[in-house]
Subunit: 338 residues, 2 copies
DNA sequence: TTGTAAGCGTTATCAT
DNA sequence: ATGATAACGCTTACAA
C-alpha cells in the first residue's frame, strides 16, 4: 500500500501538499501539483491508514453501538435490535463514520472499548442511569440512549424513545371503546418503558371508571433462560378478562397460540393486542391489532442527533426525541355489543 | 488518559519495561518493577490507545462483517442476518477482536474499508466469486464466505454453508412419503443456495418417478422493492399441486396466509413447507414443517475458522464447513392416504 | 504555494 | 533486567 510519504518522494513535493490534496484543500496547492498528485493517488488507488490518521488527529470516526445483553443470549436475534442496528449502520456509514458493535453487560468493558478506541460517539440500549454516569466519568463524548426513562438530565446525552404511555393509553382506550371492561395488562416487568405503558393503560382504565391497578398486571416470564414460561398460570388467569393488552408483539403472539391451542377462540373468546408491529404481527392469525413504532426512524434519528452534537455542538440542542407511534387495527380485538 | 510514557516517567523506568508489564512479559522485568508498574496501571486504570498500538504493530484486532445489501433496505431486519451478526459479535469479542459492521453493495467500498482499517479478517455474506477475487487482489488476509457455492478454491478463503441440497431432498422425500405427488418448489430465484435446494427437490422427485423440472419451479417476487408480490398468480397456480416446498419460512408463511385468507385450508387443501426454522415458523398456524439450520453455530464457526487461520495459519487447514440441518415436523403437511 | 519537523502512543530492535 | 531509539503513517503548526 502506497503511503503519503512515498507519493511525496515520487513527485518531489512535501507530505503536507499531498495531504492537502487528499483532503480537498486545493486552494492551498498549485493546480499543476493538484493534477500531478491526483493522478498518482488515482493510479495507485491510495488508501489512507486510518489508524495513523486517528492517532495523529485524535479522533476515530468510530461510532459504537452497545446493547446490554441482560438475559438474552443473542440480542440481535430480536428483530427490534436487528432492525435498529441496520438503521444505525446505514446512517453511520453515510455520515462518514464506522460502526463497531458490542453486546455487553459489564459497563466497565464498555468503557474500556470506547476509551481505547477513542470512539467519537456511542449509541446505547438497555443501560441504566448509574451505568451511563459511570461511563461519563471518563468518556467525554456524546451518548445516545435509546428507550430509557431515567437518564434525562445527563450532560452530553441524547434520549430517544416513544410516546409509550400515550400509545398504551390509546390502545387501551380503543379496546374499551370496543366494549371491553375486564382488561388486563401483560409484560415481563414493570419498569422503564414497560412501566410507562402500564401507566398509560391505567390512565385509560381510570378514565373509564374501570380498575387499572397492579391486580390486573399479568407478569409473563420470558422463558428463554432457565426459567419456564408461566403460560399455564396465565391461561387460567385469562378467564377473568375479555381482553389483554400486551407490551410486545412477541408475548401477544405467544398468548395467541397458547390460547388457541387450548381451544379458546381469538378474538371471540378473548381479545389480545400487541406492541411494536414487528414482522410477524401481520403473519400470525388472527393478525395482531398493535402499536406500530418506526424502528428504522429510531436508528436514523439516533445517529443524526449524535453526529449533530459531535460536529456542530450547538449550545441549545434539544436532547430528547419522543417518536410518534401509530395504532394498527387488525383482527385480534373483538367488538363487543353492549 | 495516562500513557505509557507518562507512567515510565513517573517511575523512572523505560517505556519498554512498562509495555512488557502491560503485556504480561513479566519474566523480563524485575518483580519489584512489576509490582510498582502494576500498581500505577491499576490506580490510573490505564487504557491502551488502540490506534497507536495498531499503527505500531501493523494489525488492528478488527474483524469486519460485510453483508451485501442486494435489494434489501435493511438486511439486519431479516432475522437470519440479525442472529448471524449476534453470534459473530459474541465470538469475535470473546476471541479478543472487535467487530465492524457494514451493509454494502459496492465491493470497492468494502475494499476501501478493510484496507484502510487494516482489518485482520473478514466475514462476508452475499458476495459472489468475482467480487471476492477483486478484494483479494489487494487484501491478503483471510475471508470467510457464508452461504456461497461459487467461491470454492480461492486462497485464504473459508466457505461455510449448509447441506442445502440434501436438506431439500429430505424434505421433498418426506412430503412424497406423506403421499403427495404433485409437488412444486418455490423460491425467489434459482441460483446459489436456492438452486441447490431446487436440485435436492428435483432429485427426490426424480427418484420417486415424479416430475422435478423447471415447470414446477414457482418463482415468487420478494415484493419489498417496487415490484409487487405475485401472490395472485401463485394462488392460481397452486391448484395444480397438493404441496409446495418453499425455500424459506418467510415465503411459506406468506403463502400460508394468502391461501388461508382466500379460503383454502392448510394443510387439508394444500401442504406447505418452509426452510430455516426462524422464530415465527412455530408462531404461525398451522406451525410450519420446516428445515432447521443453526444460525448461531454458523456465526460461531465462521469466527473460529477465521481466527484459526489468522493466528495459526495451519498449512493443511480445511476450508469448507458444511453444517448439518434438521427436519422439524410440525403441522403444515398433510398425510394423504393412498 | 510549499516545506520542515514535531507529535500522536505504541511496539520492537538492539545495546547495555 | 533495562533503556535508547527508530519506526508506524498521518496531521498540523509554523516557517520559508
Amino acid at each position: 500500500m502506497i503511503t503519503i510519504k512515498e507519493i511525496a518522494n515520487m513527485l518531489n513535493v512535501s507530505t503536507t501538499t499531498v495531504s492537502n490534496v487528499i483532503h480537498g484543500k486545493t486552494k492551498e496547492v498549485s493546480p499543476a501539483n493538484v493534477e500531478r498528485i491526483r493522478k498518482v493517488l488515482d493510479e495507485y488507488d491510495y488508501m489512507p491508514n486510518i489508524n495513523a490518521r486517528n492517532l495523529a488527529s485524535n479522533r476515530s470516526k468510530i461510532i459504537g453501538m452497545v446493547v446490554k445483553v441482560n438475559g438474552k443470549e443473542n440480542p440481535f436475534k430480536d428483530q427490534f435490535f436487528g432492525e435498529l442496528l441496520g438503521a444505525v449502520e446505514d446512517r453511520v456509514r453515510s455520515r462518514g463514520y464506522n460502526l463497531m458493535v458490542y453486546a455487553l453487560n459489564d459497563v466497565r468493558q464498555v468503557q474500556k472499548f470506547i476509551l481505547s478506541w477513542n470512539m467519537d460517539g456511542l449509541v446505547t440500549c438497555g443501560f441504566v442511569e448509574g451505568e451511563i454516569s459511570y461511563l461519563q466519568e471518563r468518556y467525554k463524548k456524546p451518548i445516545v440512549i435509546i428507550d430509557d426513562y431515567d437518564t434525562n438530565d445527563l450532560e452530553r446525552c441524547i434520549n430517544i424513545r416513544l410516546e409509550d404511555k400515550k400509545a398504551a393509553y390509546e390502545m387501551t382506550k380503543y379496546v374499551i371503546g370496543c366494549g371491553h371492561k375486564k382488561i388486563a395488562f401483560l409484560a415481563d416487568n414493570n419498569v422503564n418503558l414497560d412501566h410507562q405503558r402500564f401507566l398509560g393503560y391505567c390512565q385509560a382504565m381510570d378514565e373509564a371508571g374501570l380498575f387499572g391497578s397492579e391486580e390486573n398486571f399479568l407478569k409473563i416470564c420470558p422463558g428463554n433462560r432457565g426459567e419456564k414460561n408461566n403460560l399455564d398460570e396465565l391461561y387460567e388467569r385469562s378467564f377473568a378478562y375479555t381482553a389483554i393488552i400486551c407490551s410486545s408483539d412477541y408475548y401477544a403472539a405467544m398468548l395467541l397460540n397458547t390460547f388457541q391451542d387450548r381451544g379458546r377462540k381469538i378474538p371471540d373468546d378473548i381479545s389480545i393486542t400487541g406492541f411494536d408491529d414487528v414482522e410477524y404481527a401481520s403473519l400470525v392469525r388472527p393478525a395482531l391489532t398493535t402499536v406500530r413504532q418506526d424502528i428504522q426512524e429510531k436508528g436514523l434519528v439516533a445517529v443524526d442527533m449524535l453526529v449533530k452534537m459531535l460536529e456542530e455542538n450547538p449550545k441549545d440542542m434539544e436532547t430528547l426525541v419522543v417518536l410518534p407511534t401509530q395504532m394498527v387495527i387488525r383482527d385480534s380485538v373483538k367488538r363487543i355489543n353492549g
